[in-house]
């Protein structure tokens, strides 16, 4: 099963601003030779320390940034060789949810019109109002919220609305960049369960980026570990985390505080 | 640190050059022929050409510009069309009046603004804080010249304590000079003080909500100790920037105050030359003021980098 959205041999480096006239321009190697794939009906995870390159990888996958080398393939076609029509089709098929719910909705727009924006922007002719009501129900919220403004909602509710917006154009790929790390503990499970249901109910391909290993272990069936710009390991989360081969994964697993270890008095060693 | 200094110096000279070009163009863009402006609409054509030739106004613009700048650098600010008097001599005597007036106005403004701003910030919730806020609002709304008129009315006419206008040169009677500066400085200081109080108040309020002030208190400082030892230094950054910006405002105020109290300062001279359409004189004296303001901005920038290690050592 080929991946719907893939990175093949992708590398990225940024020219560092010259520290001073005496130092020649140096390069910061952010990603080197990364292969990664998101497949239909499957949830894939990406973990790694901050600074490992997760954000850059997500920006390249979503077409916001062009990689220096390597390809970004959507349904087999390279994103950066696509013509305008194909690119619009890619945009329609891609849904993105970001980390900070408070910042992902325009405060000046009622929630309803924020949801309509993708349909208007991509010029999708369907019954917009019906579609909005359909999707708002899908994320477990009442259509009465549509007329209200973002600052009247809690973090969890805003994240659900952001997910709804990502679903508006019936995408086949959903990329969630740290979707729950800004939420309260009791709300995290609700949003994670919603994402997992969407994968099974809508046969979506989901990519979940997180720094919390247990979130990825819970919500995804395959995870890649990114360290210093390289994918060091990929596998089934629980197996990978119980028997990590690479040093980077071992460090990540060692850093996790588990309940069981804590209660047994060896939480910090 | 060095790169920061170089960048600031480059910007300083860049700004000077750009401002001089701007003023040079501004003066010529409108009237087209400078000589025509000087002599007025109904002057005869050859009178205009004669004047233009005499002052080299018929030469190509870049040449005139370079000639003007070279002159400026050597202190030759050009000659007045009417009296033929060199601008430089005119300016030097006027500066001895305008600079003390402007600087003491600024200092008085600060003496008013910093305590009032701190007080208003400390009592932001309470009515007394709001009262100071309202006072500064009213202060901002009072035009400088009206403040001058009211003060001269009160102190000059009714109480007869201070001269309400005119100027006695320093050389003749310094005390009298100072006495005739008192009211102008107070008017300038009050208005500037009112404007800066608001900036000081918001800078202090902003700093008081910062985490590091709370940390300072958690380390055993009382609220006022934390404000003075930690808050003020951090609040001085926006305040210093505002002082730099107020420079341009201050010059504007000085022009008006010199007119209200009929003090023969530099700004008043510019005004007279504007009326007399002495375009070259205006061009040079205005350039002098701009050099002063841009220089002060450079000093403010350097002071800012001394106060704030983040700018000095780079983010």
């Amino acid at each position: 099963m080929t991946g719907i959205l893939e990175l093949r041999g992708v590398s990225q480096a940024y020219r560092l601003g010259r520290r001073s006239p005496f130092v020649t321009a140096s390069y910061l190697q952010v990603l080197s030779n990364v292969d990664f794939a998101v497949r239909t009906g499957q949830a894939v995870g990406l973990v790694g320390e901050s600074g490992a390159g997760k954000t850059t990888m997500t920006r390249i996958l979503t077409g916001l940034e062009r990689p220096q080398t390597g390809q970004v393939l959507f349904d087999g076609k390279d994103l950066w060789e696509m013509n305008a029509v194909e690119r619009l089709e890619f945009r329609r098929n891609l849904g993105v949810v970001m980390q900070n719910p408070r910042s992902s909705l325009d405060p000046r727009m009622p929630v309803g019109s924020s949801l309509l924006e993708p349909l208007r922007s991509l010029g999708i002719d369907c019954d917009h109002v019906a579609r909005v009501n359909e999707v708002i129900e899908q994320v477990g919220m009442a259509s009465s919220v549509l007329g209200r403004y973002p600052h009247e909602f809690s973090g969890g509710q805003l994240q659900r609305i952001a997910i709804a917006r990502a679903l508006m154009t019936r995408p086949i790929v959903l990329i969630a960049d740290e979707p729950v790390s800004a939420l309260d503990v009791s709300i995290q499970a609700q949003v994670l369960n919603l994402l997992m249901d969407l994968v099974t109910d809508l046969n979506l391909a989901l990519m979940l980026v997180a720094h919390d290993l247990s979130v990825v272990a819970y919500a995804t069936s395959r995870v890649s570990v990114l360290a210093a710009g390289e994918i060091v390991e990929t596998g089934q989360p629980l197996e990978l985390f119980s028997r990590p081969k690479s040093k980077a994964t071992q460090d990540l697993v060692a850093a996790v505080l588990t309940m069981e270890a804590g209660l047994a008095g060896r939480g910090l060693d | 640190m060095v790169t920061y200094l170089i960048r600031r110096l480059v910007f300083f000279f860049g700004a000077l050059f750009a401002a001089s070009v701007l003023i040079f163009i501004l003066i010529r863009a409108a009237g087209g022929n400078v000589a025509a402006i000087v002599l007025g609409r109904h002057a005869s054509a050859n009178a205009i050409d004669a004047l233009a030739a005499e002052y080299g106004l018929d030469r190509p613009l870049p040449v005139q510009y370079i000639d003007w700048i070279k002159g400026m650098l050597h202190g030759d600010l050009g000659r007045s069309f009417r009296t033929g008097e060199s601008v430089a001599d005119l300016v030097v005597s006027r500066l001895s009046i305008s600079i003390p007036l402007a600087l003491s106005g600024l200092i008085l403004g600060l003496i008013i603004a910093i305590p009032a701003g701190v007080f208003a910030a400390r009592n932001a919730g309470r009515p007394v804080g709001a009262f100071v806020g309202l006072l500064s609002q009213i202060g901002i709304a009072v035009p400088v010249f009206w403040a001058g008129i009211l003060l001269s009315l009160l102190f000059g006419v009714y109480l007869g304590l201070l001269p309400t206008g005119g100027w006695v040169p320093w050389s003749v009677d310094p005390i009298q000079s100072i006495r005739s500066l008192v009211l102008p400085v107070i008017s300038l200081g009050l208005i500037l003080g009112a404007v800066m109080t608001r900036y000081v108040r918001s800078a202090i309020l902003d700093v008081m909500n910062q985490d590091y002030v709370r940390t300072a208190r958690a380390c055993g400082m009382t609220e006022s100790q934390a404000l003075v030892q930690v808050g003020l230094r951090n609040a001085s950054l926006p305040i210093v920037t505002v002082i730099g910006l107020q420079m341009a405002e201050l010059i504007g105020g000085t022009v008006i105050i010199e007119t209200v109290f009929s003090i023969p300062g530099l700004s008043r001279m510019i005004l007279a030359n504007v009326a007399a359409r002495e375009v070259i004189v205006v061009q040079s004296t205005v350039m002098l003021i701009i050099v002063f303001v841009i220089f002060v901005n450079l000093m403010v920038d350097l002071l800012y980098s001394v106060l704030d290690p983040r700018t000095r050592l780079g983010q």
């Binding site: 320390e49 609700q190 919500a219 | 380390c219 100790q225 290690p309």
Partner: protein
């Protein structure tokens, strides 16, 4: 009671008609470690700030805060300031903004030491270096001369801990000390804090929403919801045999390596509804709108606190759960 580092009795914190903390009582023994768990809006940070006398403008307290033989709640700012940093100190959440950006890091710790002791400049500097070494900060001498923006989040948080422990306080309050840090750094900072606190015999109040941190570092825990403690007790008991539905919900809904099935088919039970805003709290027990076991009694009467539990229908778990 002199044998407790801190004794909070019936603490209320409010701003006009908005009550954020509604009758909280707990006691931390000398050298004891208590965790205060709660989500956003539970009032845990305001409780800590009330104990330190650092409430923002407009907020006021009722009830008693007994520490070092006095009731802090009726002390003036100057009286409190003599104790802050000396007998009671605090570490805050965001290391990026907690340190004075325009001063060298050394200046802040040295001025603290000299304020609370008669140590001279040289002696204070030596103490500061020793503290930095104990916090395993690299090259303590240079570090003292560095500015906050030149240091990493982890380093800055260790400096905050050094500052808080400089005068061997009776109690240190840590409000979400590692939330803003990277996970790998988080464990190191917690270990540093744990060792330093144990060596000094300082009592610790750890405030966080992260349950494993409480399990790793605290002996007792109090769970806060909507301004009240709903359950309190030894960590081992509360976390293995929770009696309050909210505690149970938190424990079950948080994904940890232990409660995930291999094939990924399991769905963690989540607590329905949202964290209640303080303005419109439910009548009776604040958790009743989200509680599966809620009955009319819960919807009308606010449960009293009996043996640390505030619930009309405590969960009776059979032993092996």
């Amino acid at each position: 009671m002199t044998d407790s580092a801190m004794d909070v009795r019936d603490l209320f914190v409010g701003n006009g008609d908005l009550q954020a903390v509604r009758g909280v009582s707990f006691s931390i023994p000398v050298g004891g470690r208590m965790g205060l768990v709660g989500e956003s809006g539970s009032g845990k940070t305001l409780t800590a700030l009330a104990m330190m006398g650092l409430l923002p403008v407009g907020w006021s307290t009722e009830g008693r805060i007994l520490h070092d033989g006095v009731d802090l709640s009726c002390q003036s700012d100057s009286q409190l300031s003599r104790r802050r940093g000396r007998t009671i100190s605090m570490v805050f959440q965001d290391p990026l903004t907690a340190l004075d950006p325009v001063r060298r890091v050394g200046h802040q710790i040295i001025s603290l030491i000299r304020r609370h002791s008669d140590a001279g400049k040289a002696e204070a500097t030596e103490q500061a270096k020793a503290l930095f070494r104990q916090m395993n900060l690299p090259r303590p001498a240079q570090m003292l001369r560095a500015y906050p923006h030149q240091l990493s989040g982890g380093q800055r948080q260790r400096i905050m801990i050094a500052i808080a422990l400089a005068c061997y306080p009776q109690l240190i309050i840590a409000d979400e000390p590692t939330t803003a840090l990277d996970t790998t750094v988080q464990k190191q900072v917690l270990r540093t804090l744990d060792v330093a606190v144990r060596e000094r015999g300082t009592a610790l109040l750890m405030i966080t929403h992260n349950l494993p941190i409480i399990a790793a570092i605290c002996d007792t825990v109090a769970v806060m919801y909507a301004g009240r403690i709903v359950e309190a007790g030894p960590v081992a008991e509360v976390f293995s045999k929770p009696r309050h539905p909210y505690t149970m919900g938190l424990l079950r809904s948080q994904p940890t390596m232990d409660n995930i099935a291999l094939d990924g088919s399991s769905r963690l039970p989540s607590i329905r509804g949202t964290v209640p805003p303080l303005q419109d709290l439910a009548i009776g027990c604040a958790f009743q709108p989200r509680c599966e076991f809620a009955t009319d009694k819960c919807r009308l009467e606010t449960p009293k606190v009996i043996e640390g539990l505030s619930c009309w229908h405590p969960i009776v778990l059979d032993a092996e759960e």
